[in-house]
């Protein structure tokens, strides 16, 4: 092919005339696919404290907190609920997949940046 200087200029002019491809993100909202894995969320009503999520989590995000005992018939069973240190979450989806009760799910919220670590500790399931 012939060498020339400035073979990019036609495309440059084309790009200049049409709308920019960049989205001005914080000023415009972006669309996310259905399968998006965002911030983790738990439905406290469905959680039974089975600890499977804490076992499978590769990043040790989930720790089970003891909330005292509960009487079921004759026996006394410990009540446990998960606490999520979401700043360490790697969004692998292992807990969501393995939860036998479907209590965990991914939301589409990805704006998680914060200057305080504590705001990313999710204690939602503990308040029962």
């Amino acid at each position: 092919m012939p060498k020339k200087i400035g073979s990019a200029i036609p495309e440059m002019i084309r790009s200049m005339i049409k709308k920019p491809d960049t989205e001005a993100y914080p000023f415009t909202k972006i669309t996310l696919p259905e399968t998006y894995r965002g911030k983790l969320d738990i439905d406290p009503a469905k959680c039974t404290g089975c600890s499977i999520c804490a076992y499978v989590c590769p990043a040790a995000v989930i720790t089970m907190v003891d909330l005292g005992k509960r009487k079921v018939g004759e026996k006394e069973l410990p009540v446990k609920r998960p606490k999520f240190d979401l700043f360490a979450c790697i969004f692998c989806g292992e807990c969501v997949e393995n939860c036998p009760f479907g209590a965990l799910e991914f939301t589409k919220n990805f704006e998680m940046a914060t200057s305080q670590r504590e705001t990313l500790v999710m204690k939602k399931a503990l308040e029962i």
């Binding site: 092919m1 012939p2 060498k3 020339k4 200087i5 400035g6 073979s7 990019a8 495309e11 440059m12 790009s15 491809d21 996310l32 696919p33 399968t35 998006y36 894995r37 499978v56 989590c57 590769p58 990043a59 040790a60 360490a88 790697i90 969004f91 692998c92 989806g93 292992e94 997949e97 991914f106 670590r117």
Partner: protein, 411 residues
């Protein structure tokens, strides 16, 4: 060996003695390196006399950490070895583990693995082509290519759920299916990307300033490449048709027709051609695989333990041959996992190529191998045992810096 402070002193000493070589530190923090590594460049004028690598700045002890985690958890950890070839890493690991077992992996899962791996290859090659433009001082190419890279990233996001870490491969299967409704979208987008690859080839072939920067830079001979164990596009650009996908098919590569792209010159220009052509072949492979994908389950339920034994496997990551070795003692955690990444294999070649070229060629040649130093060092965002929590305030960091570089001031 090289602390940054020391090298600065050496550099200023070199300034006084004009006749000797001038030491220019290339990294650990440098605009051309997106990850911290350190290359000592010995220059005579502008010409490079010697290069000494010092890697390990992002070494996080991944292989040691793997010996303390369960098999499934390790999938996600090895996936995070690298952001760009994340699926390749998890695929190679999963494949090595499956080699120890006797599971029949579902056909559909193998096809999905191929499709995602090829999407990732398109992404990686586009990323590299853009960065090459940036390194050669052609930012327009960089911006355009990365604009098109968004398309493939959106596809990956739609298929896997996230843009970078797909978390798709798992032992004995994949985690998400590709629904039929998504097929037409994928085919359409990959066709568009193949067109764009042709367009960029047109620019690369005709724009004379870019040709001046890439032609006859980093000439790699086939014998040298083989002797120094170069892998991937680098060796294919030197005229050796070596591609794991064709030579030792894994996943569904045995069923999908695939051309091995080669060029003969071995310079950066040929590399650019090889990578742009591979975008087209990948797009074709994806089309074919989507059309011929069998129905069926996508994963098996498996017990947490893996039979004892040793197994090694390799796959063609976007950057070259990626090698995994696993040893199991029959428990739920591995005995040893070893990863040999393409960058480490290509580094000796790059260092050899640099000698004799000028400072201006350093970013182009060094990055022509598509280095991923995170891969090379086995970086992990997951900490050694995941409870590593420490933070420094700016003041503490400053104090540490002063203590580190000016020990006498502290005393």
């Amino acid at each position: 060996m090289g602390e940054p402070g020391e090298s600065r002193k050496e550099a200023s000493a070199g300034l006084v003695q004009y006749s000797t070589e001038n030491l220019v530190p290339f990294g650990p923090i440098h605009p051309a390196l997106k990850e911290p590594e350190y290359f000592k460049l010995y220059l005579r004028g502008e010409t490079i006399v010697d290069v000494i690598p010092r890697i390990g700045y992002v070494h996080r002890g991944l292989e040691k950490a793997a010996e303390q985690r369960r098999w499934t958890q390790n999938t996600y950890m090895f996936e995070r070895t690298c952001g760009i070839c994340s699926f390749a890493h998890s695929l190679a690991y999963v494949q090595a583990v499956e080699g120890l077992t006797t599971y029949e992996i579902p056909e559909r899962a193998l096809y999905i693995r191929l499709i995602v791996a090829e999407l990732e290859r398109i992404h990686s090659h586009l990323l590299w082509a853009g960065l090459l433009g940036h390194w050669a001082g052609f930012d327009t190419l960089f911006m355009w290519v990365w604009r098109d890279r968004e398309i493939v990233l959106d596809l990956v996001e739609a298929v896997a759920g996230n843009r970078v870490h797909k978390s798709l491969a798992t032992i004995a299967g994949v985690k998400k299916d590709i629904p039929d409704s998504m097929k037409s979208k994928i085919v359409e987008r990959t066709k568009h990307l193949a067109d764009r690859a042709y367009f960029y080839k047109g620019i690369v072939d005709t724009e004379s300033t870019l040709l001046m920067r890439t032609r006859k830079v980093g000439n790699l001979k086939a014998e040298t490449a083989q002797k120094l164990c170069a892998v991937g596009p680098l060796v294919r650009a030197a005229g050796v048709p070596r591609d794991v996908r064709a030579d030792d098919p894994y996943a569904a590569y045995g069923d999908v027709p695939l051309d091995v792209v080669t060029r003969n010159d071995g310079d950066v220009y040929s590399l650019l051609h090889v990578r742009l052509d591979e975008i087209v072949t990948s797009a074709n492979a994806i089309d074919y695989a989507l059309e011929h994908m069998p129905k069926g389950p996508i994963r098996l339920k498996i017990p947490p333990t893996i039979p004892a034994g040793e197994y090694s496997t390799h796959i063609e990551a976007p950057r070259g041959e990626l090698f995994y070795f696993v040893k199991s003692s029959g428990t739920a955690i591995p005995e040893r996992v070893k990863a040999r990444t393409p960058t480490l294999a290509n580094l000796p070649t790059a260092l050899e190529l640099l000698k004799g070229y000028t400072m201006a060629d350093v970013p182009v040649v060094l990055t022509a191998i598509d280095p991923c130093f995170g891969c090379m060092d086995r970086l992990s965002f997951v900490d050694l045992d995941s409870q590593k929590k420490w933070s420094w305030t700016g003041e503490q960091l400053r104090e540490y810096g002063i203590k580190h570089y000016f020990p006498e001031r502290n005393a």
